[in-house]
């Protein structure tokens, strides 16, 4: 099969440009033999005298051109073998990439129409000798010749340099069919890339990994979705987040490619009308997404659900949460001082993502409760204004006691005196507390929710604004209530549905934790779960 030779112009060792295919004396191109070599490849070095003999014998009829991969490789090779054949430098291996072969030496024969009519890789004496014979026959060349008997029968070549992963990623990113469409920013040699990214406002305040085309290309391999597919429209700027834009921010956040599907699912979730990332970003109360990951993907990509799950030290937890924040910041334009008006901010605004320890939980995991199959990988996002808030109880040994303590911990949400709240709380129960809850038999999530409501129920009159705190039920409203109504018990939550429960943490330690929500519901934010597409 013939194919047109991808044309190129490269510089030879004397600094002169040579073009292949070269124009012939008449119409059409000059026939040529083009051989790609790597100077440190033993087989290429074995072939050097053969190539030189081809040049000596064929030069009047066909160009014999040696292309050395790398900046200096060709020069070393030519000097080592005293070559007189032209040696060109494929410094960045872009020509090798375009010619699309795997092994060097790679020998191509071009006809007078610039088509590749023969291509050989590595060294098989019989093949090379046959090619030699064909050229001699075609051009009626007599004399000279190669001492084929003095050469080994076969020698494997070496992998072409353009297939080295780093080089190949760069070449693919630059290729015409590259999936990359984002604006390229050239950072001058005298500029520090990290400082440049700070200056441009890309950062959340921590250093970023430079999103080079190579890294973004590698990141894009984490998903089968098309790079230009629009995943979501990101408030507040209502800017389209393509898979590529998400991948760029995921690189900056420090994600591995296999985290990308989680980031994509999470971006999709926060940009829903239900989650309302605009409001979550804008509120002076300082809300931010808290992400819980369920399902098999946790183990596959190393999401931490155990020791230190809510803290530092796990790359997946830290960078997936951060990537979502960076997409909101950079694609959506939600920046502190701009649309983000948070009074104090919160470390949640850097990142908050963790896995549920399903294997250590006697309950249905969060995603199953929310209607997914246990085998699905799912990310669930809650808009939270604070947490993790530690709930400490090292003494309780009875199930209802520990459930009571967890309730009392949740009562702290916003202000302890505020009750009947229509606000989500996310309770993260540690394994030791789970064991205590189950010490006398089954203890359902429903029972735990009920117990939380029991222990936090207080007479409404305790919620009336007073000298100690002006918050709560205002006196004018309280005055309209009968004594019986004021004596009625009000639990912390307006409904048990606002209490979300997951299990995480290490085996040792009687410390659970909680996140407190924002404005839950249609006027604010509703938690959203999305299945993670992992092909």
């Amino acid at each position: 099969m013939t194919r047109p030779a991808p044309p190129f112009t490269l510089t030879d060792l004397h600094g002169a440009n040579r073009t292949v295919p070269a124009p012939g004396p008449g119409p059409g191109a000059r026939p040529a033999l083009v051989c790609f070599i790597k100077e440190d490849c033993q087989t290429c070095n074995l072939a050097a005298p053969v190539l030189e003999a081809f040049h000596r014998d064929f030069a009047h009829a066909a160009d014999v051109i040696i292309v050395g991969q790398g900046e200096e490789g060709g020069r070393v090779f030519a000097e080592r073998h005293g070559l007189t054949a032209p040696v060109l430098a494929d410094a960045d291996c872009a020509v090798s990439f375009a010619w699309d072969f795997e092994i060097v030496p790679a020998l191509f024969r071009l006809d007078a129409e610039g088509r590749i009519v023969d291509s050989l890789e590595a060294f098989f004496r019989e093949e090379w000798q046959a090619l030699d014979a064909r050229i001699r026959a075609d051009f009626d060349i007599k004399g000279g010749g190669v001492d084929w008997d003095g050469l080994p029968e076969r020698r494997p070549g070496c992998g072409s340099k353009h297939l080295d992963p780093d080089i190949n990623d760069r070449l693919q990113a630059a290729a015409a069919d590259s999936p990359i469409r984002a604006r390229r920013i050239e950072v001058g040699a005298s500029d520090d890339v990290a400082e440049f990214m700070f200056d441009q406002g890309f950062s959340d305040g921590l250093p970023l990994i430079p999103p080079t085309p190579e890294r973004v290309l590698r990141m894009l391999r984490g998903t089968s979705r098309g790079a230009q597919e629009i995943v979501a429209v990101v408030p507040p700027n209502m800017a389209p987040a393509t898979v590529e834009k998400i991948a760029i921010n995921a690189v900056m956040a420090g994600c591995r490619p296999d985290y990308l599907p989680v980031v994509i699912a999470a971006v999709e979730a926060v940009c829903t009308d239900a989650f309302n990332i605009h409001g979550v970003t804008a509120t002076t109360m300082g809300a931010s997404p808290v992400m819980v990951i369920n399902g098999p993907i946790r183990d596959r990509i190393g999401v931490n659900s155990r020791l230190g799950a809510l803290g530092a030290g796990s790359r997946a937890n830290a960078t997936i949460g951060r990537a979502v924040r960076l997409v909101v910041r950079n694609v959506g334009g939600g920046r502190p001082g701009g649309v983000d008006r948070s009074t104090l901010g919160s470390p949640l605004k850097f990142t908050m993502c963790f896995g549920e320890w399903e294997e250590g939980s006697p309950w249905e995991p969060l995603h199953v409760e929310r209607g997914f199959a246990r085998t699905d990988s799912v990310v669930t996002l809650f808009a939270m204004t604070s947490g993790p808030v530690q709930i400490v109880d090292q003494e309780s040994r009875g199930p209802d006691q520990i459930a009571g303590s967890l309730g009392m911990g949740l009562e702290a949400m916003f202000l302890p005196k505020l009750h009947r709240m229509q606000t989500d709380a996310l309770l993260v129960v540690c394994p030791e507390h789970v064991r205590t809850l189950f010490s006398a038999g089954d203890y359902s999530k429903a029972r735990l929710r009920q117990r939380i409501q029991e222990v936090t129920s207080r007479p409404l009159r305790e919620m009336v604004a007073d000298a100690a705190s002006g918050a709560g039920l205002q006196p004018a409203a309280a005055a309209k209530l009968s004594p019986d109504q004021l004596d009625a018990l009000a639990p912390k939550f307006a409904d048990e549905k606002f209490i979300h429960i997951v299990v995480a943490g290490s085996d040792a330690g009687k410390f659970s934790s909680a996140f407190f929500g924002w404005v839950t519901g249609a006027a604010g934010s509703t938690s959203v779960s999305r299945r993670i597409e992992t092909d």
Binding site: A182, V193, P213
Partner: protein
């Protein structure tokens, strides 16, 4: 040189920053007519006003061949080399 990819929605130019604004008008003011109808009327008026209020400055007039295309490089170069300020008339 390092190439990075823009993580934003690309609405804002990355490197272009406006030149510092001087606090006094001196030197040459270029008035660029982009060839929109009546742009010259606006610039005539402006030239008269500038002449009255800043008698020390010199005014030079320029005209783009068409408003529908970017300013040709040589005209841009001339304005850059000859003027300290430039006012571009956009209006119809």
């Amino acid at each position: 040189m390092t190439t990075i990819l823009d993580p934003t929605d690309e609405r804002v130019p990355i490197e272009r920053t406006p030149a510092a604004r001087p606090d006094r008008l001196t030197g040459v003011i270029g008035l660029l007519d982009i060839s929109k109808p009546r742009g010259n009327v606006l610039l005539d008026e402006l030239e008269a006003l500038l002449g009255d209020r800043f008698p020390g400055v010199e005014i030079k007039r320029y005209r783009k061949p068409t408003f529908a295309k970017p300013c040709p490089d040589d005209l841009r170069g001339r304005i850059r080399s000859e003027c300290s300020f430039v006012v571009e008339a956009l209006a119809d």
